[in-house]
Homo-oligomer: 433 residues x 2
Amino acid sequence: MRRTSRDIRTANRYDVLRRIIAASPVSRQEVAAATGLSLATVATLVGELLDLGMLTEVGFEDSDGGRPRGLIAVDAAGGALIGVDVAETYVHVELFDLALNVLARADEELRPADSRPEEVVAHIADAVRSVVEQSGVPDERVLGVGVSMPGQVDREGGVSVYAPNWDWHDVPLLDLLAERVPYPLYLDNPLRACTVAELWFGAARGREDVVVVNLGTGVGAGLALGGALHRGITNSAGEWGHTTLVLDGRPCHCGNRGCVETYVGAPGIMQNLRELSPHSPLLHPDDQTATIAALAAAVAEGDHVAVAALQETARCLGAAVADLVNLLNPEMIVLSSWVAARLGQPLLHAVREQVARHALRRPLDAVEIVLSPIPSDPVSLGAATFALKGALASVGQKTAGRSATARRTNGAAGTPAGVAPSTTARTVRSTPS
Amino acid sequence: MRRTSRDIRTANRYDVLRRIIAASPVSRQEVAAATGLSLATVATLVGELLDLGMLTEVGFEDSDGGRPRGLIAVDAAGGALIGVDVAETYVHVELFDLALNVLARADEELRPADSRPEEVVAHIADAVRSVVEQSGVPDERVLGVGVSMPGQVDREGGVSVYAPNWDWHDVPLLDLLAERVPYPLYLDNPLRACTVAELWFGAARGREDVVVVNLGTGVGAGLALGGALHRGITNSAGEWGHTTLVLDGRPCHCGNRGCVETYVGAPGIMQNLRELSPHSPLLHPDDQTATIAALAAAVAEGDHVAVAALQETARCLGAAVADLVNLLNPEMIVLSSWVAARLGQPLLHAVREQVARHALRRPLDAVEIVLSPIPSDPVSLGAATFALKGALASVGQKTAGRSATARRTNGAAGTPAGVAPSTTARTVRSTPS
């Protein structure tokens, strides 16, 4: 499975744009130095992105007496990207400009009773419509919508293969969504989204071997190995939450026992607390978010039960993170998602202590363990970058925004129109009127 | 950490030679098709390897009425490679021709009392001398010696960083060995060696995402991700034997508790048997090899205790292999090393059953679990390929065999002479006479 020259071109285009987003304004020479690509290649790719209106020329800089160098910057208004974070209890949607600034946000609550696919799709569509309306961005400027769906997903098919918390199996999510959302759609899961967000904007910028540990209701590990996502042969790598920490331990919804997730996911942490203090006032039996928030507040006040529950969680989490350190020998582990954000520094310190107890010296000495520094939602940010990558993959076939306009003009009145298809994008199907 | 053009050239040279070894005789056109390299690149690399005497022209084939195509083959006599498998209880050394046929073997037993570095080095040097003498290959034709050392190794420094069974820390193994072995030396560990052997010659030919599970006294996992070895940031990836299977479980020599190795390494299997039947006649308390052999024979005869011990081992091993399936989503898991070879099909079947019980459906459906098909010792074979890769890395600087001859001629009489250095080779130091 060698990469084709087309794949390489898309990857180079993505890499160039990423560097320009990180350092606008910047010269082609600087981009060439940062990416390792030749100046000629960079000039060609920059030319394409200028033609698409994704970049803009912003002047010249002196170059030590030589010819002044042209400076380029991302054209923030050159397109909009939408990132959708579907979680067990909410849908969070953000609309970004091309510099990845947030222009609008929308949230929809998902109650346990709302978990049928049609209902989840309706919430996503409502939130997407809301952010586009709030931002005032015209439809044809929306380059795409990246959707992060928990569990295992088939990216190419746009299918939620298995969503454990709702027991979804093989739900054709993008097909359902395409009936209500008139933009190119891209699917992946929160592990990938968080990891890409860390690589582009977070703690892992410039790093090669990084594991992003996602602590939420479910838990998992996004793997960036050799500087790129490791997806596995069927895009389901990273199910660290379903590796065994305690053989014959707590039952897990996956059917196994003793999975990491049953000890360090939000419900697992609640169970740790319950086993220490069955009637703790910190416990909100039907509300994970409230319980974790109460636990964090009580830890800050030095509450003994809360500190003990945090320690027990860190003991399990530390052993499981040490497994990642020993097996993969990464240079960095990033603790991400809402549980990590809530429990913050006290969790980080306790985990570092436990990892030091469990990991082998050599990989331990080589690894940094940090909290995600991304201030907003890394999942929607990462999901938006999938849409950006998808849009870049279709450059050169037909340019994204333009072909959408063209098709809309040619299509049936009132029919949502798609954008140039790429191999990984599911474009909107025209519903015959 | 982008690869330099020199790295890429070495990798391409290695890839070309690997294809030719696999399919001699072969045309340049076929090599180009198999490697994805251009015909011009292949022609240049083949030219270099012909100049070095590693390949030979062997005639022509018709090409459907076009010009006859030249056929090339590996020149088996073009050099010799030595692979050293250092294990807890033995040193096994093989000398290979360039087609990777075994020309000579030597074994040295390591008794528990022989485990000081100087003693192990003496055994290695004796065995290396023995295979060279047996084969009659002249010194200047020995392209290099690959040494596989259990535990964690620093390849560039040639140091055994941590060898758990002997409690070695930071032993400068190649420096010690260079005083007694007059060939270029390359160090790595058995996980890497077995994995390369499977990729080149074994079950994993042509595969991208493969885990080679090494079951011996110690256990570990060689990771081939995206078709290449994943080494980790300090070359210590793969310490799956020291991931936690049972939190607070059996004590492990690494200082942790409940490590996978304590349940499925040879001593762990002995413990499984002992817990089922403390006085089992299958147990040879001081002899792992004899115990595993007795267990395998008793399983074949349907002995109840032996079958139960195998099942309990498979239960632990299955859960731990399922962790690899869920975390890495590989297309293949290869069970390798002497314990896997001894317990064979009954272990394989029991492990497959247990993995099916523990792994998630999607990655489970995508993975094949097989026994290593390599009939000889995969570790010495893999170690020899490290020496081959090292020799290829020095092509173009100075050619390997020739520069050795040149230096020997110029060097002090009786002084062992080295071969052109490469970044990963530790060349022999000339001891001033």
